[in-house]
């Protein structure tokens, strides 16, 4: 009898019915949405350090970058913070001296006694994800396209390096798409690191700049030695 009473009370209260509908709707919508905040750690890179001083510029767009896909199920991946950690670690491993900044150094802060030989400014050009229901493959995939702009100490552009990163993770029984995308994004980040470390000195413009710098340093040393 009491349960019937409660039921009747519930049905006739439009406010409660509305609240329940909203709660149910939001529950259903959140069940469909996938939100991933990528976090984790990267090991230090095993590489020979280049005798360079660099500044890596993480602009706010890059440091808080997040990707949202509205096609199909709603997916959102926040990669900003993890990217900053990745590139900071990579620069520490690859260059003898490295520091970070949040904006490009101005002409007044750089000049005669330059603090850096190179300035690196990474930016995200594009992020793409692929879910198993879209690709018909049993893998979650994440692609990230970076543009690494490299400037010399005078602030002149040296190279525009388009660097792609790819990560995938297979579907697993009882594994959520959030976990799978997180893992795929981490693999993509590690791949970006591998590309950066193995490819930096091979980019033609950077290689040319490094060669010119080497020649300059050698000739300066030779002239110093020949001076009386």
């Amino acid at each position: 009898m009491s349960s019937i009473k409660v039921m009747t009370k519930f049905v006739i209260s439009p406010r409660r019915l509305l609240a329940l509908s909203f709660a149910l709707a939001s529950l259903l919508l959140s069940a469909c949405a996938t939100k991933v905040e990528v976090d984790g750690n990267f090991p230090p890179a095993l590489t020979r350090q280049l005798p360079l001083r660099t500044i890596v510029v993480f602009e706010p767009d890059f440091a808080s970058h997040h990707f949202e896909s509205t096609e199909g199920p709603e997916v959102s991946i926040a990669v900003g913070q993890i990217q900053v950690e990745l590139f900071t670690g990579l620069a520490d491993s690859l260059f003898q001296h490295s520091s970070t900044a949040t904006s490009m150094p101005t002409s007044t802060s750089m000049p005669t006694q330059p603090e850096a030989d190179l300035i690196l400014r990474p930016s995200v050009e594009d992020v793409q994800i692929s879910m198993p229901n879209e690709s018909q493959l049993k893998v979650f995939e994440v692609w990230i396209k970076y543009n690494l702009q490299v400037y010399n100490s005078a602030g002149e552009p040296v190279a525009d390096w388009i660097m792609t990163a790819y990560g995938k993770t297979p579907t697993r029984f009882l594994k959520s798409s959030t976990d799978a995308l997180h893992q795929a994004a981490m693999v993509a980040m590690r791949d970006a690191g591998a590309h950066f470390i193995t490819g930096f000195a091979r980019v033609p413009e950077i290689r040319q700049w490094l060669h010119a710098r080497q020649t300059r340093v050698s000739s300066t040393n030779t002239s110093k030695m020949t001076e009386p």
Partner: protein, 225 residues
């Protein structure tokens, strides 16, 4: 009573049917066993560069456990190795052949890291476990009076893996083990679903792990004798 007995016998029949068939092939470069000093270690790595599949990390861990079962063969965990050598063993950069590995080891820093870890053999495992066939269906329904499932489903899984052993001292291939495990799983649902699952990946791991162990254990036995 008769119904209970027939139910039990059906379950037993299905349990017996959910077995796995494993075939192991082995190839050795020569008949002598692989030498492994007590200070030397082995690393087992999975191939991850293919677009449509990757060798499961838990399968690699399982092989490591089989090799290290009685602490005779010391195994460096895959994750630890890949982190120590970052970024040289990522899917993009990992060597696919011995020539590439030899070139990699020309880099003193990488060679030094291998030496520090006492690595003597590298075992590459390539393959995956896939569902190859499925049939039947199970439907579940829920209502105010309760819920339940009804139906029968079956699926077949095949795990195909190949392990290749590289000797890091001679930079030559020491042997290969290929395993194919196949098993059918069933799901019977009469109100409650009862899954009878064939452990295909576990059986493949047993097959390949134990076979790989024989490559090293023979030398240990002869050393002791």
């Amino acid at each position: 009573m008769k119904k209970l007995a027939s139910g039990i016998s059906l379950v037993c029949f299905l349990t017996l049917s959910a077995c796995t068939t494993t075939t192991v092939d082995e190839y050795r470069e020569n008949s002598t066993s692989l030498l492994l000093d007590s200070s030397e270690r082995v690393v087992v790595l999975g191939r991850r560069h293919y677009a449509d599949y990757e060798t499961e990390p838990d399968f690699i861990d399982c092989i490591g456990e089989k090799l290290n079962a009685d602490r005779e063969v010391s195994v460096l965990p895959e994750r630890e190795f890949v982190d120590l050598l970052y970024p040289w063993f990522e899917p993009r950069t990992a060597p696919l052949g011995l020539k590439r590995l030899a070139k990699m080891l020309d880099e003193p820093m990488i060679a030094q890291r291998f030496k520090e870890q006492g690595l003597r053999y590298m075992i590459w495992v390539d393959g995956s476990t896939e569902t190859t066939d499925r049939d039947g269906s199970v439907s579940c329904a829920i209502g105010p009076g309760g819920g339940g499932c009804f139906g029968f489903a079956t699926w077949e899984k095949t795990g195909t893996y190949e392990a290749i052993i590289w000797d890091l001292q001679t930079l030559k291939e020491s042997g290969r083990v290929k395993v194919e495990a196949r098993g059918s799983s069933y799901m019977v649902a009469i109100i409650l679903p009862i899954p009878i699952v064939a452990q295909v990946q576990d059986q493949a791991c047993d097959g390949i792990g134990l076979q790989l162990r024989t490559f090293f254990m023979d030398s240990r036995v002869s050393e002791e004798s």
